[in-house]
Amino acid sequence: MSATPFLTLSALLFTIGAFGVLVRRNAIVVFMCVELMLNATNLAFVTFSRVNGNLDGQIAAFFVMVVAAAEVVVGLAIITSIFRTRRSASVDDASLLKY
């Protein structure tokens, strides 16, 4: 099967994720949108791995998953500590560095 539909789907999911990051305020939902973008790139990696006939793309997807896991752990810890001090999970409220 041709690889183009998979790549189109990957691009579409990445766009939706990027749009979500721009639009949403809840920090956790923004984070989920970042995860969606990472997953979309993983789909592209796996597709290219099949196109090229070697497993390097799958290894790349595997590393993306590992980094995503580490990122989620630290990111969610930051969100909980911000929530503990500010009682809010909105990204608009964490704006003190601006001033």
């Binding site: 989920m32 791995s49 799958q58 909105s90």
Partner: protein
């Protein structure tokens, strides 16, 4: 191929729903749909290892972590619709469309050539193939990953750690505090009174009766009191029940002895 055309619309709809849903829990569940569908697409594309990892690590671990934090951090706090930046949503839509067009043109203009397929690379099985690559060419990256994971775990512990502000309360200090409270306010030293036990109610929402005929508020959980779910022990319910019973009695006497006799008959008929 069928799997792709079935799953692709589902994934796009779920992703859109995730971005547009007001409640964060709905977003998390829709993200789970996207991730499981992605796992199936990996399986379709000759990547059984990534299929399993996607389900175990992404859907099983990461998404559940998301849900845990969601439950900790205000699950009922839905996003506000008010735009803090004027025209942010419109700008985001324009940017999204432009980005989609850019990437779409990129995908459309590339020629990928013939799809080789992974039959040769997966000849010894997908997992051994990945293992050979991971422990030969990518062994350095793999080892660095361990440092990353340890740093992430430590970072999460440091960030989520809460410093203790006062000294820890021991059993001794607690008993001393209770004794001081008893001297100051006369609060009873023993355990709190149990809920009331009556002929018709003995649930935790029924207050106990004090010797002087009043109910004891100490016998009811504070959260029940805050919700206003406390049953009145001395309500008019007794009178109501009494009335009901007497009216039933009257009805029975006017209709004759039919009712008790019938019951008697079924009792005898039961074992036979």
């Amino acid at each position: 191929m069928i799997a792709f055309w079935v799953l692709a619309p589902v994934m796009v709809l779920a992703a859109l729903g995730m971005v547009l849903s007001r409640k964060a829990v709905h977003a998390a569940l829709l993200l789970a749909v996207v991730m499981v569908s992605l796992a199936i697409l990996y399986a379709v594309q000759d990547a059984p290892f990534l299929f399993v990892v996607q389900i175990i690590v992404y859907t099983g671990a990461i998404l559940m972590l998301f849900l845990f934090v969601l439950m900790l951090v205000g699950v009922d706090a839905s996003d506000s619709v008010v735009e803090t930046l004027r025209g942010q949503r419109l700008a985001a839509v324009v940017l999204g469309v432009l980005f989609a067009a850019t990437v779409g043109i990129g995908v459309a203009q590339t020629t990928l050539g013939v799809v080789t397929g992974l039959d040769e690379a997966n000849a010894d099985g997908n997992v051994p193939g990945i293992a050979v690559l991971l422990f030969s060419r990518y062994v350095f990256a793999f080892e660095v990953t361990s440092a990353l994971l340890i740093t992430a775990a430590l970072g999460a512990m440091v960030l989520a750690h809460r410093e203790r502000l006062g000294p820890k309360e021991t059993q001794r200090s607690m008993s001393q505090r209770r004794m001081r409270e008893y001297v100051a306010t006369g609060r009873p030293l023993g355990p709190l009174p149990t809920p009331g036990v009556y002929a018709r109610h003995n649930a935790v929402d029924t207050p106990a009766l004090l010797p002087d005929g009043q109910t004891s508020s100490l016998s009811i959980s504070q959260s029940l009191q805050a919700r206003g779910n406390v049953r009145q022990a001395m309500s008019g319910e007794v009178d109501e029940t009494l009335e009901q019973l007497t009216s039933e009695q009257e009805r029975r006497t006017t209709t004759g002895n039919a009712a008790p006799e019938r019951r008697h008959g079924t009792d005898q008929g039961g074992p036979a």
